[in-house]
């Protein structure tokens, strides 16, 4: 029998020990040696505490034994002593032993090596711990666990941040504390749990309540958690705050990102950043296009690389930064250099950039290439100038044309009238003579004949004058340098006959300071002759007194021909230069009415002016100006 029990004990895969009433080892099977590494003799009569990791911990041993005695069975798990490896994770199951007389004899102990199992457990726990720490450390999301009923089991930093509770004050509470009274009335929390339970998940955005009573717009995900047996063990809940503060932070990040990419892609403007020293720290597409440098070759360089040597010698780059720092901004247009050394006309704006603490952190620089625009502007300006010039010329030509047209109209109307007059006269007298001849009345025939001849002569004169007039308008001016004295002599010489006949007194007064004039000699002589012959002609019985004066005035020579003749009525002054305009009848003052029209034409063709002053009965003074040579 003994051997049979011995055989059983020796072969059991767990360590079996027997302790006396005081906890001293009285028996151990071979498995104990296998587990602990201690030989049987090393253990027998030793205290059970020898197997503890801390040998001296008899207090714990006494406690364990006491507990086993009181409760009938006690499991002690922990580090046990192992001879070779120092310690192992062991489990000791202790039970008190009573004999048949129910006398307490000591303890039985089953010892197991749980070392491997424990290692697994520990590593699992470590990994769980990592997740827990990670979850707990998340600040942007409130992540917590609910039990199956919806009570909060775990809590993280995000929860403290978003809902405002600490782990201590919220753990154990029902998650409905986060709901508004309306939601509570409609039993929304229960509904969410039910949906999560049934479909695995519940997701929504909605109003939730913080500890301080304020509400926030939340995005929540409620997930049902099942164990390996598919039994519901609770829920996880992830809450995100979508309210402004949260969203701002996010949208700021997004918008910064957006701006950065926009700026990088802008190609019409060179946009780059510089540090406070003027070193380039960012570079965009436009800068690359305008200046020719790639980002990697330019970043880190001083922006003075874009300046011409003289600008650098003048300290211009540094000056620009100084101005930007002092007033916030520096703007100018000027020449800058490309990578290939070519110049371009740039508009630049340097802006000082400050951080939120108002410290200068650098500068932004925006460069525009205005070369093309400048060229276009210049071309436009030139074309504008030339078209303006053209417009001016056209306007002048137009005015000349319309004046010429008006003159022509007047001319034809007058010519048709005035030329018809002698023709009608001639024809009428011829018819009259014919009539008289038929009637045999001859006494007035000679008078009619003379009148006919007069009419024919008048017509001849008219035609000759018209020709003169049109020649003056049409022919090229043959300009030459003419001495004024010489010119006046020439005109007076031509009129010598008339002057002698009228016994006129001619006075000539020429300012010695005047220079020669540049003019067509023939036309100028005719002009003077016309004025002089008018002065001789339009007199009453007085002896003609004519004064010719010449003065230099503003680069012109002003001629003056003054007479003591009959004068011109004031209301007729404007008519005197008209073609065929006669202020007096042919009989009183013969003439074709072309003299002054021709004179005016001559002066105009020489870009001069002609005008007159007159008093009826006292005399007339004609003035005209011709440019000095």
């Amino acid at each position: 029998m003994f051997t049979k029990w011995n055989l059983l004990l020796d072969s059991i895969a767990d360590g079996i020990l027997m302790l006396d009433k005081d906890g001293y080892i009285t028996y151990c099977n071979p498995m104990v040696t296998h587990i602990t590494g201690y030989e049987q003799h090393q253990l027998l009569n030793q205290s059970f505490s020898k197997l503890n990791d801390e040998e001296a911990d008899s207090i714990k041993t006494e406690y364990v034994l006491n507990m086993a005695f009181k409760t009938g069975r006690f499991v002690s798990e922990g580090w046990k002593s192992q001879k070779e490896h120092g310690r192992f994770w062991g489990q000791a199951i202790l039970a008190p032993m009573f004999d048949d007389a129910r006398e307490f004899q000591g303890y039985s102990c089953v010892l197991r090596d749980n070392n491997e199992k424990k290692k697994e457990e520990i590593s699992l726990r470590q990994s769980e711990e990592r997740y827990r720490l990670m979850v707990e450390g998340v600040k942007d999301y409130s992540i917590f666990m609910l039990d199956t009923e919806g009570h909060i089991v775990t809590w993280n930093d995000g929860g403290r941040y978003i809902q405002g509770y600490s782990a201590g004050e919220i753990t154990g509470k029902h998650f409905s504390v986060f709901y508004t009274s309306d939601d509570l009335a409609s039993k929304k929390p229960e509904m969410e749990l039910r949906i999560a339970r049934e479909s695995g998940m519940y997701q929504e955005e909605g109003w939730r309540v913080k500890k301080n009573g304020s509400v926030f717009w939340a995005s929540i995900v409620l997930t049902a958690l099942y164990n390996e047996h598919n039994a519901l063990i609770g829920f996880s809940k992830v809450t995100r705050d979508l309210s402004e503060r949260q969203r701002n932070a996010e949208s700021l990040r997004e918008s910064e990102e957006r701006y950065r990419s926009i700026v990088e892609q802008v190609s019409d403007y060179g946009i780059f950043m510089m540090d406070e020293k003027g070193r380039i720290v960012s570079w965009n597409e436009g800068a690359k296009r305008i200046k020719g440098y790639d980002a990697q070759e330019i970043i880190g360089k001083y922006f003075s690389i874009f300046y011409q040597e003289e600008d650098i010698l003048n300290g211009k780059p540094a000056y620009e930064l100084t101005v930007a720092r002092a007033v916030g901004k520096y703007e100018e247009e000027g020449w800058r250099l490309r990578k290939d050394g070519e110049r371009f006309w740039a508009n630049i704006v340097i802006t000082a950039i400050y951080n939120t603490d108002k410290n200068l952190i650098g500068f932004s620089k925006v460069t525009r290439d205005l070369t093309e625009r400048k060229k276009t502007e210049q071309a436009l300006k030139e074309s504008y100038q030339s078209s303006r010039q053209l417009a001016r010329e056209l306007t002048a030509t137009n005015a000349e044309l319309s004046a010429a047209n008006q003159e022509l109209e007047q001319f034809t109307s007058i010519v048709s009238h005035d030329l018809q007059e002698p023709v009608r006269t001639l024809k009428s007298f011829l018819q009259l003579m014919n009539m008289k001849l038929d009637q045999g009345k001859f006494q007035d025939l000679k008078t009619y004949l003379e009148k006919s001849i007069n009419a024919a002569n008048r017509m001849k004169d008219l035609i000759a004058n018209l020709l003169d007039y049109s020649q003056i308008s049409k022919n090229e001016l043959v300009k030459e340098k003419i001495s004024v004295t010489n010119l006046i002599d020439h005109a007076l010489q031509n009129l010598k006959g008339s002057i002698d006949a009228s016994d006129a007194r001619i006075t000539v007064a020429i300012d010695p300071a005047i220079r020669d004039i540049e003019a067509d000699r023939i036309q100028l002589v005719q002009l003077l002759q016309n004025l002089l012959s008018n002065a001789l002609k339009y007199t009453d019985d007085k002896v003609p007194q004519i004064t010719i004066r010449c003065k230099a005035e503003n680069g012109y020579v002003k001629f003056e021909v003054a007479d003591n003749g009959i004068g011109i009525e004031h209301h007729d002054l404007s008519k005197v230069f008209d073609v065929f305009r006669r202020l007096h009848t042919v009989k009183d003052y013969p003439g074709t009415g072309m003299g002054l029209a021709i004179s005016k034409k001559v002066v105009e063709r020489h870009q001069g002016q002609i005008w007159l002053e007159s008093e009826p009965g006292q005399g007339t003074t004609f003035y005209f100006t011709i440019r000095e040579s």
Partner: protein
């Protein structure tokens, strides 16, 4: 048959000669005067009693001194003469010229005959027109 008392304004003495010949011969007009232009016309009119004024003024258009237009403008502004009909006569048959004269107050516009000989029919025409214009 009533004879109209006419005053002629004409600068061309030959033309005037033929006009007078024809008008006298026609017996339709009583030529109470002739002047060379507007200037002498107003001198002639000046100070005349109402009964000495003409029934009609026949005036050339283009003349040295005050021409036909000047006469039209000035006569309409004078209360003593404003009632006297002024007939403008000219060799011009240009429509715009005729219209301008009528617009300025001419009672009529007669184109001068091609030859002085034709003044006899001109005189009849003028007389007929006057019978419509001149008050009885």
């Amino acid at each position: 048959m009533r004879k109209y008392r006419i005053l002629i304004v004409e600068n061309d003495e030959d033309e005037l000669f033929f006009m007078k010949e024809s008008f006298n011969e026609s017996g339709l007009f009583d030529i109470i005067g002739d002047v060379k232009n507007g200037n002498t016309l107003f001198e002639w009119l000046s100070g005349k009693p109402a009964e000495a004024l003409p029934d009609l003024i026949l005036s050339d258009l283009n003349m040295p001194g005050k021409n036909g237009y000047d006469i039209l403008a000035e006569i309409r502004e004078n209360e003593h003469y404003a009632h006297i009909p002024v007939v403008i006569t000219s060799t011009s048959s240009i429509k715009s010229v005729m219209e301008k004269c009528l617009q300025m107050g001419a009672s009529d516009y007669l184109v001068k005959p091609e030859s002085f000989i034709d003044y006899s029919s001109y005189a009849k025409d003028l007389y007929y027109r006057c019978s419509l214009k001149v008050p009885d």
